[in-house]
């Protein structure tokens, strides 16, 4: 499948300060891309530039007509808001809706189906703030998917999740990728559970972006100390 996002001669950064680049990068329409790097390497800046919420300092980013679904770090959400899990998922349809447009039957059915997709069909009416961390994460994934985006982007989706929660989150992402064959971009620190699902890996290090197949990058040593010694990607893990 052809590229859905093209970056050419791009320098990423904030204000006048470049963090990484210049580099070229293409995001394939069916990539499961894992973005890795140490703190401050520019993972979030790279992804924000990729999806167009942050302009590049130099270069061109092309993603005409591509829609993005986004899953933020859930600890950035204020729990004061009185919203049910269903309300949160329905929110995914809001950007495309016009004034006075309420979620019709089709929208509500889509929200219910996406809650079922992430295994939360019985929690639809529960307050979002009362869900566990893993459940909140799944509701946010359902919200990102309900508008059927071309690219699903997740910013450190397994932060503060326990090991089973982390495994379950990546199993869900793997299943979604398998079923939908759309691009998924995941920023993560803990690579071990993410890499077996990944089809591509992007590593930001020393102001450069290195991309390739996970096994090849691990073998080349590009990940350095980002993974434990002796780590290997097993097919079908």
């Amino acid at each position: 499948m052809s590229a859905v996002v093209r970056m050419r001669g791009v320098v990423i950064g904030h204000g006048r300060e470049g963090i990484a680049g210049p580099f070229d990068f293409d995001l394939g329409g069916e990539d499961f891309l894992v973005v890795a790097g140490v703190n401050g390497a520019g993972k979030s800046t790279f992804v924000k530039t990729l999806i167009g919420t942050l302009p590049p300092l130099r270069g061109v980013v092309e993603s005409r007509g591509v829609s993005f679904g986004y899953v933020p770090q859930r600890e950035r959400l204020d729990e004061i808001w009185p919203l049910s899990a269903f309300d949160v998922v329905l929110m995914g349809l809001v950007p495309a809706a016009g004034p006075f447009r309420f979620a019709g039957k089709a929208g509500r059915r889509a929200a219910q189906e996406h809650l079922a997709l992430v295994g939360l069909e019985d929690e639809a009416d529960r307050p979002f703030r009362d869900l566990s961390g893993g459940q909140q994460q799944r509701a946010l994934i359902a919200r990102a998917l309900v508008a059927e985006p071309d690219v699903l982007v997740l910013d450190e989706p397994t932060n503060h999740l326990d090991v089973p929660g982390e495994r379950a989150a990546y199993a869900l992402l793997g299943a979604i990728h398998e079923r939908r064959r759309r691009a998924i971009v995941v920023i993560c620190h803990h690579l071990a559970p993410a890499l077996p699902r990944a089809t591509r890996l992007a590593v930001l290090r020393d102001r450069a972006l290195v991309t390739g197949a996970p096994a090849a990058l691990i073998a080349s040593g590009a990940l350095g100390d980002l993974i434990d010694d002796g780590f290997a990607v097993r097919e079908g893990a």
């Binding site: 999806i51 919420t53 829609s67 993005f68 679904g69 986004y70 899953v71 933020p72 950035r76 959400l77 204020d78 004061i80 808001w81 009185p82 919203l83 049910s84 309300d87 929110m91 995914g92 809001v94 950007p95 809706a97 004034p99 006075f100 309420f102 307050p127 009362d130 919200r143 990102a144 508008a147 985006p149 982007v153």
Partner: protein, 275 residues
């Protein structure tokens, strides 16, 4: 005690009470967003900025020979100041609370300094801004009615977008929403509502009616529509009961409305204690 009954004096309170009810609806609708966006002092800052607008309009004929309606200028400057709060991003270097505090201080100082160039008119600034709780001229009722209808229509049209842009601006932006524009529009609407309501109710009751009914709703309910309904119902009830009690007990109307608005916190507080 009054010598005539409350009902016999209906010709006295009918219009002011209607104005208080309309003002309380404005406070409750905008208050839910004010509390959820953790911008509690937006009401105080808007009142100060409106004061600056009124003083500026009173000065203009002297310095530029231009006549601007002072009340209109006050409402516009007050509402615009709230719109500017949208410039401070959640999690940005300067938070919304700090921006509101700075606006409050600067507007207050500005009106005091500019007020020194006014002679007789300065005394009318307070009356223009805070009106009179026991009198409501027809134009005030009309302004309140139009603002209530405008705010209701705006929330029906864009309420869900305001909620998304406020709850999760990062995702809303990633999904293509112009978050800053929605925030500016929301804060402008909140500022306009507060400025118009302040004219009929006074600054202190508006401050209380913006916060207490919304906070009471949030303590009690886990659904946003119910929070809105509760806030509007209790704010109107606080205006009605406060007005009635102030008449029969001959106490200040504004203070009585503030005390009554605090009752909206009771059900949610009791519920939490009993849990």
């Amino acid at each position: 005690m009054n010598e005539i009954s409350f009902w016999e004096a209906s010709f006295l309170w009918r219009d002011p009470l209607a104005a208080a009810c309309l003002g309380s609806i404005l406070c409750a609708l905008s208050g839910v967003f004010v509390v959820l966006k953790r911008s509690a002092f937006v009401g105080a800052a808007v009142s100060q900025a409106a004061g600056l607008g009124v003083v500026g309009a009173l000065l203009l004929p002297h310095v530029a020979g231009v006549v601007v309606p002072p009340l209109g200028a006050g409402v516009l400057v007050g509402a615009s100041s709230a719109g500017l709060f949208a410039m401070s991003r959640k999690g940005g270097r300067v938070g919304v609370e700090a921006a509101i505090g700075i606006a409050y201080a600067l507007a207050g100082a500005g009106s005091l300094l500019l007020g020194t160039f006014l002679t007789h008119e300065y005394e009318s600034v307070h009356a223009l801004l805070f009106g009179d709780a026991v009198a409501a001229p027809p134009e005030e009722l009309a302004a309140l009615t139009v603002t209530v209808m405008g705010l209701a229509i705006l929330l029906l049209a864009y309420g869900r977008k305001f909620v998304f842009a406020s709850f999760d601006p990062e995702t809303a932006r990633a999904m293509g929403m112009p978050v800053r524009r929605y925030n500016a529009a929301l804060y402008f609407a909140v500022g306009l509502s507060i400025a118009v309501a302040t004219r009929s109710l006074g600054a202190l009751p508006v401050f209380a009616l913006t916060l207490a009914p919304a906070a009471g709703g949030l303590l009690l309910f886990d659904r946003l529509p119910r929070v809105f309904a509760f806030a509007v119902a209790t704010a109107v009830a606080a205006a009605l009961v406060g007005y009635y009690l102030s008449f029969v007990w001959e106490k200040p109307t504004g203070a009585m409305i503030v005390l009554c608005s605090a009752a909206s916190l009771l059900p949610g507080t009791l519920r939490r204690i009993l849990r």
